[in-house]
């Protein structure tokens, strides 16, 4: 069995720091069955030598759960943003091109800073305030039919793919992105969350809020969890419109 060993060819866009200039490096690593992008990056980490035989600093990337529920390992793989843990080498065209999600500030190589997403969640108050200074007792129950679709929305992992795919999320626009709008729908549907529904709608209405959506609908096409993001956006469009009209007449 002297046949030539199969390799995986990767072209990786790297950057040495937040202010560095991006450059590309190519790697060829030995093929093993069932590899994903993370195991490729681990292989390069063990032996960080480019195709030219130059030893370089290992590639920096983020990862955590390895089962597509944490969102940390998102990157642009062959032009499409997705999680590197579920990007299987056998299903990818070679050479495999890895790039960071450039919508976000780049920390180093493939690791980006997704802080703006967490700021957006704070802005729209994407949580349910449950406890006061004393036990308030159990909240109202949620109807099963609503729980079923709300569960779909709760699968959002703040991975950043919807922002990367969106033409309206860029350095010229303060748009918060589809995921935050969908989270408002989720928490406003919850029977306890409903009690603060208007605060969340307020969070959606300012600059960079829901009106900055341009309906390109790339988000719903790209979401790795299949969340009906555009339905959430339209639904929140309705909620903010109704709220603003009510608000106008009662003040």
């Amino acid at each position: 069995m002297a046949e030539q060993q199969k390799t995986i060819h990767l072209i990786i866009t790297r950057q040495d720091g937040p202010d560095g200039t991006p450059y590309k490096q190519e790697f060829k690593i030995p093929y093993r069955p069932n590899m994903n992008i993370i195991s490729c990056l681990m292989e390069i980490q063990r032996n960080p030598v480019t195709v030219d035989g130059k030893e370089v600093a290992p590639i920096v990337w983020e990862m955590n759960c390895l089962e597509e529920v944490c969102g940390a390992c998102s990157m642009v793989i062959n032009g499409k943003p997705r999680q590197s843990c579920t990007a299987l080498v056998d299903k990818l065209e070679q050479p495999i091109r890895l790039e960071p999600m450039k919508t976000f500030p780049i920390n180093r190589d493939l690791a980006v800073d997704r802080s703006r997403m967490f700021d957006a969640l704070k802005r729209v108050k994407a949580w349910i305030p449950i406890d006061g200074t004393h036990d308030l007792g159990p909240g109202p129950r949620m109807p099963e039919v609503d729980r079923q679709w709300a569960y779909e929305l709760s699968r959002c992992m703040t991975c950043g793919v919807c922002l990367e795919a969106c033409p309206n999320v860029n350095d010229k626009s303060p748009f918060i992105g589809a995921f935050a709008i969908s989270q408002v729908r989720l928490f406003n549907e919850h029977p306890t969350g409903k009690m603060n529904a208007e605060e969340r709608l307020e969070g959606l209405m300012g600059e960079g809020g829901i009106t900055d959506c341009g309906n390109s609908q790339n988000c719903v096409q790209s979401c790795p969890k299949g969340i009906p993001l555009t339905t959430s956006i339209a639904s929140m469009n309705r909620a903010t419109t109704v709220y603003s009209i009510k608000n106008f007449f009662r003040n």
């Binding site: 032009g79 499409k80 795919a165 033409p167 309206n168 860029n170 010229k172 626009s173 307020e202 969070g203 209405m205 300012g206 600059e207 809020g209 009106t211 900055d212 959506c213 341009g214 309906n215 390109s216 609908q217 790339n218 096409q221 790209s222 009906p228 555009t230 339905t231 956006i233 339209a234 639904s235 929140m236 469009n237 309705r238 909620a239 903010t240 419109t241 109704v242 603003s244 608000n247």
Partner: protein
């Protein structure tokens, strides 16, 4: 009350595109369609439109100012986007790009068109009764005919597709099925309005040919 001004501005931009600008576009193309029945029938309609009480006030408040607002704010919105159709060639993303491209073309076209027709009447170079001849003269130039066809199609597309996104932005069509059906409806509106506008355009360009074709 964080920042309702921004919300209001964007909603106003969306609303003005449909009412009154979309309404005006329809009335305008509808009036022009009388050109297919000959110069006399068209000028009769022009006389009716010009005879509306407070016509200047109506034109300024319901046509000129809304277009100015929608156009200038729309330019800002269009140039804020970073189009990525190459990488995400989804139907709606293409429509998103086209909406911005046709918006810019329409604004350029309207500016030129208003200068060439309405403003010439305001500064007294032409009478309302001379509009048919004026259009006929403009459209004998093949370059201008192409420019008018492109401008017209941009305007009708921008209106029809804008109607689709208006329905989404105001929370009228929420789910994917409703949005798909409204795509069909608005594209039908695009085809019908374009046909109406193009027929009028060709009547201005070749009044005799069109009149003969209709009589046959």
């Amino acid at each position: 009350m964080m920042n309702h001004r921004h919300f209001f501005n964007r909603k106003l931009h969306s609303l003005l595109g449909v009412v009154p600008i979309g309404g005006f576009l329809f009335v305008h193309l509808f009036t022009n369609f009388y050109a297919t029945r000959g110069e006399a029938a068209f000028l009769e309609r022009v006389e009716i439109m010009e005879g509306i009480p407070f016509v200047s006030l109506i034109e300024i408040v319901f046509i000129f100012l809304p277009i100015l607002y929608h156009g200038i704010y729309g330019l800002y919105i269009a140039f804020q986007a970073k189009n990525n159709v190459g990488n995400y060639g989804f139907f709606r993303n293409v429509m998103f790009m086209l909406q911005r491209v046709t918006g810019v073309i329409t604004l350029i076209f309207i500016t030129w068109h208003v200068w060439e027709t309405k403003m010439q009447m305001v500064i007294g170079n032409v009478e309302a009764t001379g509009f048919f001849t004026l259009m006929n003269e403009i459209l004998t130039n093949p370059f201008m005919l192409v420019f008018y066809i492109v401008g017209l199609l941009s305007a009708t597309f921008h209106f029809a597709n804008g109607l689709w996104s208006f329905a989404v932005s105001w929370g009228i069509t929420v789910g994917p099925r409703a949005q798909r059906i409204s795509t069909y409806v608005t594209m039908l509106i695009f085809v019908l309005m374009s046909a109406m506008g193009l027929m009028a355009l060709f009547s201005f360009a070749n009044p005799v040919d069109v009149a003969q074709a209709i009589q046959k």
